[in-house]
């Protein structure tokens, strides 16, 4: 827990720089690097059992997001929302394709991470540790630790949704 938190102390804008440093610093040739930006979790009210986590994921080579882990919840799943005829439909997906160099948005109106059976209430400003498990085309797995700050439950992000929903329409589901 401690070390994960320490990792996450690095502010969001530094993630890319950090990833670059890691690339440069790696003595061995690294098969793939995945960068996670702007991760956040929606805060909850007391006794609310689950919430969503959102972020931008960019893999350097064709990869797959296999799963997400977090000590904040007993169950972590990847879901996909889709809006059709003003009906929002949800479904769990087994993985998300991460095409090389393409930023995949994990956001309310598209793919997102569900933190189910939360260990405790997520309050605005809390830092929620998340670990993304990504596999590249050669079957090599990497684990990316991020810390997602909790944003207010009532944060209005609606106005950004249509654009992102459009973008995510090009992504493929495994």
């Amino acid at each position: 827990m401690r070390s994960t938190f320490a990792n996450a102390m690095v502010a969001k804008p530094l993630n890319r720089a950090l990833a670059l440093l890691m690339l440069l610093g790696a003595a061995l040739p690294v098969a793939a690097q995945t960068v996670v930006d702007d991760a956040w979790v929606r805060a909850t009210v007391p006794h609310q059992a689950s919430t969503g986590a959102f972020m931008k994921v960019t893999a350097s080579s064709d990869s797959t997001l296999l799963r997400v882990e977090s000590p904040a919840a007993k169950t972590v799943q990847i879901h996909q929302s889709q809006m059709k005829n003003d009906v929002m439909s949800m479904q769990p997906v087994s993985s998300i394709a991460l095409p090389a160099g393409k930023t995949v948005m994990l956001e309310p109106a598209s793919y997102h991470v569900m933190l189910i059976d939360l260990v405790k209430q997520v309050k605005e400003g809390d830092e929620v540790p998340l670990t993304l498990v990504v596999e590249d085309a050669k079957g090599q797995q990497e684990r990316i630790n991020v810390v997602a700050p909790a944003r207010a439950l009532n944060m209005p992000d609606h106005d950004h949704m249509p654009d992102h929903a459009h973008m995510s329409g090009h992504m493929h589901m495994e």
Binding site: R42, V45, P46, H47, Q48, A49, S50, T51, G52, T75, Q77, H79, S81, M83, D86, V87, M88, S89, M90, Q91, P92, P108, A109, H112, M114, I116, D117, L153, N154, M155, P156, D157, H158, D159, M161, P162
Partner: protein, 201 residues
């Protein structure tokens, strides 16, 4: 005594004014909205009976005199529910002094998990004036049917999530259904249409 009488006269005057406004109401005609869907010719949600978190029985007529905006969802909803409620907060800001007239009502489609306490805390985290309603599974199903709201449990491992209609239904102050607001509309677009509802009644 004189004070009391005066107050009564004032109240009577206000009532008369209110009647005048009612006479001006066009209850039958359809409305033209810039963004939302005119639902003036549809009869939905007239007979639901649910409970607020305090256990009071609530029907549509409980909101007579205000402009109810009804939305269905569940608190474990990651996307459409918080964004719709956050949009309602923005709508109220845009409506300025008319905002008090709008009554936001959130009906849970997940009464099994949404206890009255969670529901109340959830809607009030957005705005203290928002009201949450719930019923038994049967009452929930009946209410959704009455509104033509689609919802479906989607199993997901040991748990489930819900797919559901994301439309907000708006009534005029006399309980006549007027407007359907899609989730894709912005707060500004919604506010414009809500002012149209207010002009009618």
């Amino acid at each position: 005594m004189t004070d009391l009488l005066t107050r009564r006269q004032v109240v009577a005057g206000i009532s008369l004014l209110g009647l005048g406004a009612l006479v001006g109401c066009d209850s039958s005609g359809s409305l033209s909205f810039k963004h939302g869907k005119d639902m003036s010719n549809q009869i939905l949600g007239r007979s639901f009976k649910l409970k607020d978190p305090q256990g009071n029985e609530i029907t549509l007529s409980s909101f007579r005199g205000s402009m109810p905006m009804v939305f269905f969802g569940f608190t474990q909803c990651p996307a459409v529910c918080p964004t719709t409620l956050a949009r309602a907060v923005q709508i109220k800001k845009l409506m300025g002094k008319d905002a008090d007239f709008l009554q936001v009502i959130f009906i849970t489609l997940d009464p099994e998990r949404d206890t009255p306490e969670v529901l109340d805390a959830y809607v009030k985290a957005f705005d203290p004036s928002f009201v949450a309603l719930s019923g038994t599974l049967e009452e929930t199903a009946q209410t959704a049917k009455e509104f033509g709201v689609f919802y479906e449990k989607i199993p997901s491992g040991d748990t489930y999530t819900l797919s559901h209609t994301a439309t907000s239904y708006v009534y005029d102050s006399r309980g006549v259904l007027r407007l359907g607001l899609s989730h894709s509309l912005s707060a500004k677009e919604c506010a414009e249409d809500l002012l149209t509802v207010m002009e009618v009644c």
